[in-house]
Structures are given as C-alpha cells and as structure tokens.
C-alpha cells in the first residue's frame, strides 16, 4: 500500500517541461566549482583585446555600487542563487576572453542598433563592447578584401572557440542570390555555412535570424529562413524578438563565459531563463485582463487608466519573452508600458500571425479558401449565413412541396 502511495506521489511530482528555478544545493555547489575552474582557466588565457573592464566602467562614470546592482540582477535573471554573484562579476571582467564573430544577413540591423543606440552606454552595452568582437560586419571599419582577411584571421585564430552571432534571415530563393556579401559575392547562405563550420556555438539574434522574421512574412519573396533551418549539427541558441533584448544577449554570453556551456533551451531553442514565461504572466496590466477592463480605442478612459490592451490586439497572452520583467533600455520602459500592445515579435511567423494589432478573432487573415483576407469571424458568419439560406430554402420548399407521411390532416 505504501508503495502505491509513493508511486502516486512520484507520478504527481515528476519532472515535466517546467522551468526549474531551484535545482537543489548539490547541483549549485557542483556548478559553482565548475564555474570557478572555468574562470581561472579563462583568466590564465590571453585576452583578445586590452580593454580593462573597470577602466571602461570608470570612463562611463558607472560606480562600483551600480555595477554590483547589475551583477545581482544578472545573476537572478540567469536563475542562479546569490552565491554566484562574485562569479558573475568576475565573468563580466573576463568578457574580453570570449571571441565573437557577428554576421549581418537579411535584416534591418535593428539588433546591432539595439546595442548601440542607448541614451548612454549602460552596463549591458559595455559588457557587449568589451567582448572580443573579432568581426562585426556593420560596425567594422574594414571593407572588401580587407574585411575578408580579418574574418579569415579571426576564424583561424579562434577556430572552434568563437561564438557566432547571426543577425538577419537567410534568403534561399534564386540560389541565395537575393543576398550576397563581400568582394567575392558570396551568398548569405554560403557565408553563414562557412563561418558557422568552426564556431563553438551559433547564437541567432532577432526575429529574422531565428524564425525568418519580417523577410519571411507572406508572400516571402526571397524564401527567407532562420539560422536553425540551415545550420545543422551545431549548438544553436535563438534569442528572438524585434529587436532582441541586449540583456538576453548578455545573459547568453555571460552563461557561456561563466560555465563554458549554453543555457537550458526550450523547444524553439530559446533560453528558458528569458523565454520560459509569457509576457502576460508578469504583465503590469494583468489584473485588468482578468477583470475584463480593456482599452476600447486609443486615448479613451481605459487607456488613460492603463487598462489591458488585449482588445487593441495585444499578444502578450501568447508570447514568450521576459520584456515584462527586464524591459528595454536598461529597464526604462517596454511596449505595453508605453500603452501599446505586444505584437508577439519573439514568436515564429510573428508578422503574419501576431502583429495585426487586433484580437485574433477579427484580424484580417487568409481565409481557409485562400486568397481573400477576412477575419475569422467574418468567414464563420459567412458560412453560417450560407447554411442558414440553404436551410431556409429547404424549409420553404418542404412546406410548399413536401410530402408528409401521415395520410391524415396533411
């Protein structure tokens, strides 16, 4: 009997797809030791650039206290216990030992922009400045053959060690001729395959590099796809969103520097620490959703009172991202915070299936019959009307010309 009770208990507490925020003391003690070894190895290795992290912080007038606040927040974001804070601080200083190559494919460079265009460089941006960015197609001064040489040098020097960041989708139409790069006119596809071959891991940043994004939106003229559709046999991390949040990019690099491993991923290869929860789960307007208090039109009383934006098409309830927790621009604000709905930019096919800024039921999407764009409800009501007309005709015909079985009064 007690066996059965234990069995039931085990069944009811077994592991599932859950985000494990507490993995137990022995796990963390073990991880702590591994991280220490990893960091001392890194410290012994040659830094790839001479940037001194504490100097850069001082130049940007960020004091030790601000830095330690950032360290605590980053440790928490990575779902590590507070004892890891000193290691996270150390890892931030050792960031210049993490060689990164950054490719820019078919997109708007919005993810690089997200890194660069802050009001003043904050710690996240500084950490990303200090990583040893060996090659960045948008930012580098070199061009043509010179750039090509730099890429080859970086690939040879850090063979098997560099993290490859990819921004932008890969056009597959016309043999990839929609996008070519460099003096040799290499297609984006060939370029990506060549550089990813010797990477330690590939990090796809932004909606385009992860799921094809806006270039892949219907009718997808260039047959754009994401990195994970073409790169096989390499560890891949997806950091979707449009643009990807620099905080999450730092999180992934930090995790790599700290542990030598990639963070735990979900089924779409997104790190669970950032994409394990919906926007909705931690939304500041969530109470208004449950209460049924919605903004009905822009600027109405509901909007003035920060009501829920669901009826304005907010896709927070279906979108997995940590915007509602970490926000953007060093936690200054975020889309729902400024009073407009989420467009689901970290989900696959977001442009066609999420970003129509209406609730799904009355969004103009392709009808099952194809071609005409109708809302789901318009299509349903159309079918219903057709059925009603059919039934009406049958009923009238029956009343006029139908034969009742009974020989009696009819």
């Amino acid at each position: 009997m007690s066996d059965r009770i234990e069995g039931v208990k085990k069944l009811f507490t077994s592991k599932s797809a859950r985000v494990e925020t507490n993995k137990g003391e022995s796990y963390y003690l073990d991880l702590f030791e591994r991280c220490q070894t990893r960091l001392s190895d890194l410290r012994a290795s040659q830094p790839a650039n001479r940037l001194d992290f504490s100097e850069v912080l001082k130049d940007n007038s960020i004091d030790r206290r601000d830095f330690m606040k950032w360290v605590s927040a980053t440790t928490a974001m990575l779902m590590l216990p507070p004892m890891f804070s000193p290691l996270v601080a150390e890892a931030a200083e050792l960031m210049n030992r993490a060689p990164v190559i950054w490719l820019e494919l078919q997109d708007c460079a919005g993810n690089s922009e997200a890194l660069l265009r802050s009001d003043g460089p904050k710690i996240d941006e500084i950490v990303l400045d200090i990583i040893s960015l060996e090659y960045h197609e948008t930012l580098q001064a070199a061009a043509g053959f010179q750039a090509e040489k730099q890429l080859e040098d970086a690939m040879a020097t850090f063979k098997g060690k560099y993290l490859l960041f990819v921004e932008g989708s890969i056009p597959m139409g016309m043999n990839g001729q929609y996008g070519t790069i460099g003096a040799s006119g290499e297609t984006f596809h060939d370029h990506l395959m060549r550089v990813s071959k010797d990477a330690a891991a590939v990090v796809a940043v932004g909606a385009c590099a992860t799921f094809g994004g806006i270039p892949a939106a219907a009718p997808n003229p260039t047959h754009a796809v994401g990195v994970m559709d073409v790169v096989k046999g390499k560890p891949i991390v997806n950091i979707p969103a449009c643009p990807a949040n620099p905080t999450n990019m730092v999180g992934v690099v930090m995790h790599y520097v700290l542990t030598g491993q990639l963070p735990e991923l979900d089924s779409l290869l997104r790190p669970k620490f950032a994409f394990g929860y919906r926007i909705h789960d931690n939304c500041e307007r969530r109470a208004h959703f449950d209460a049924g208090e919605y903004v009905e039109e822009w600027g109405d009383k509901g909007a003035q009172n920060n009501f829920c934006l669901y009826k304005m098409g907010c896709k927070g309830p279906m979108t997995f991202n940590n915007c509602s927790i970490v926000r953007y621009n060093e936690a200054v604000n975020w889309p729902i915070g400024v009073g407009r709905g989420c467009i689901g930019c970290s989900e696959p096919d977001f442009w066609d299936k999420y970003a129509y800024e209406r609730p799904m039921a009355n969004a103009k999407i392709k009808a099952p019959a194809g071609g005409v764009e109708k809302s789901v409800d318009e299509f349903g009501l159309g079918l219903l009307t057709a059925a009603g007309i059919g039934i009406g005709i049958h009923a009238i015909a029956s009343a006029v010309g139908g034969k009742k079985d009974d020989g009696g009064e009819a």
Binding site: F12, R18, D266, Y277, F320, K353, M360, G380, K404
Partner: protein, 233 residues
C-alpha cells in the same frame, strides 16, 4: 389511432443525459469562448478591478465545460464501440448496405420526403455519419483547446502536479504541426472549428424538426423521452 403506432426505444437515459450535458456545455463554451477571443461586452468602469474578474470567470466557465466535454467524449467514444444498446460504429462502416442507406436518407431529404425507401425505426447511416463528423470536430476542439491551455503553462507549474502539463504536451503538441506550425495557428483553427460546430448544430436541429414534421414519427421526442413512434404495418 394509437393502436396503429408502436413505440421504439432509440436513446438510453445515459445517452440523453450526455446529449443535454453536451448541448448546455456547448452553449456555455460558445458564449464564453467568443468573449475570450474578443471581449464583446464591457465591464462597469467605475467598479474596482478586484470586484469584477469578468475575463477570469469567462475563462473559468470555458475550462469547466471543456472538462465536462472531455469526460463525456471519453464515455461516448467507449459507447461508440461497446454500447449494449446500439453500437454506432456499425452504421458508419462503408458496407454496401450502409452506403445505400446513407444515400436513400439523403435522397429523402432532397426530395422533400417524396421518396422514403429505408427503415426509419432505427438509427440510420446518414445521421450516424453526421454525428461522427460532429464528434471529430469535438475531438479537434478538445485537443486544440488543451494545447492552447498547456502552452500557457510553459513554466510547467500546475496545481495538480507536473504529470498534467507533461501529459497534455504529449497528447496535443502535434496539433501545432498539423494546423500550421505555431500556437497561433492552433488558436485560429480552434476558432474556425467553433463556427463549423455552430453550423453543424443549426442543421442538426433543423433536420430533427423537419423529420418530426414530415415523417410524422415523433423523432424530436427521442432526445427527451428516449423513444419515437412508428406506424405498424
């Protein structure tokens, strides 16, 4: 006149209870589901959010009737094959006899009852196929609905234990693939299927009333009393 008619039992008590439980659940599911998809009435703005909880109650109601649907469909699926009263699956197997009956009933409907060459005392193939379509729609609603539900539990936390989201993922993750790849496609499909079910229900009611009027066998009484009346030859 009463001596000319004989009473035929057509639905068991359990069958009728399930029928009405489903009918009521469906009405509630549609009312609440339309609200969840697009909140079509407003709450009083002056009331505090804590007093209203309108969306939350709608979702609660939607989930409760979904669970009732879940349970009754398991029972119905069992009875479909093993009922001691009438094994419905026998009527949907495409044998020559069933196909002939299917088309005879259809012709009866199209010719406005001018031709009736089948035995209307027992359940017919046409209605059996029609009900099967409904049950397939319903199964799709259940599985796609559970997928939408469990995708909101990505963190894997459920008050009744981790086995629940784990089981739902195993049972319903395929619905994403077949409906277009993302969870939003499941949502769109779930909403479309609701309209197909509404249309199904409207024709179902019309057809049963039509049979009652034109066949003169009291078919509408089946779902209330369990039996209809057929003229004795």
């Amino acid at each position: 006149m009463s001596s000319e008619y004989k009473q035929v039992k057509r639905m068991t008590t359990a069958g009728r209870i399930i029928h009405w439980a489903n009918a009521i659940s469906m009405v509630v599911a549609i009312i609440t589901g339309l609200y969840i998809g697009h909140p079509y009435y407003q709450t009083f703005i002056a009331d505090g959010a804590v007093d209203k909880y309108v969306m939350a109650w709608n979702r609660w109601g939607h989930f409760i009737v979904a669970i009732i649907f879940d349970v009754t469909s398991i029972v119905i699926a069992y009875l479909f094959f093993f009922s001691r009263f009438e094994k419905a699956y026998k009527k949907v197997i495409p044998t020559r006899k069933n196909i002939t009956e299917f088309f005879e009933v259809l012709i009866n409907l199209v010719t406005l009852n001018r031709r009736k060459k089948f035995d209307s005392t027992h359940g017919d193939s046409f209605n059996s196929v029609y009900f099967l379509v409904f049950h397939l729609l319903l199964i799709w609603m259940l599985l796609s609905g559970l997928q939408l539900y469990v995708s909101g539990l990505e963190s894997g936390i459920s008050s009744i234990g981790n086995w629940w989201p784990w089981m739902l993922h195993i049972a319903t993750d395929w619905t994403r693939v077949v409906s277009g790849g993302t969870v939003m496609d499941v949502r769109i499909s779930h909403h479309y299927s609701m309209w197909f079910i509404v249309i199904w229900v409207i024709f179902h009611i019309y057809y049963q009333v039509w049979r009652t009027i034109f066949w003169k066998e009291g078919d509408i009484a089946i779902v209330f009393g369990g039996s209809k009346f057929v003229k004795e030859n």
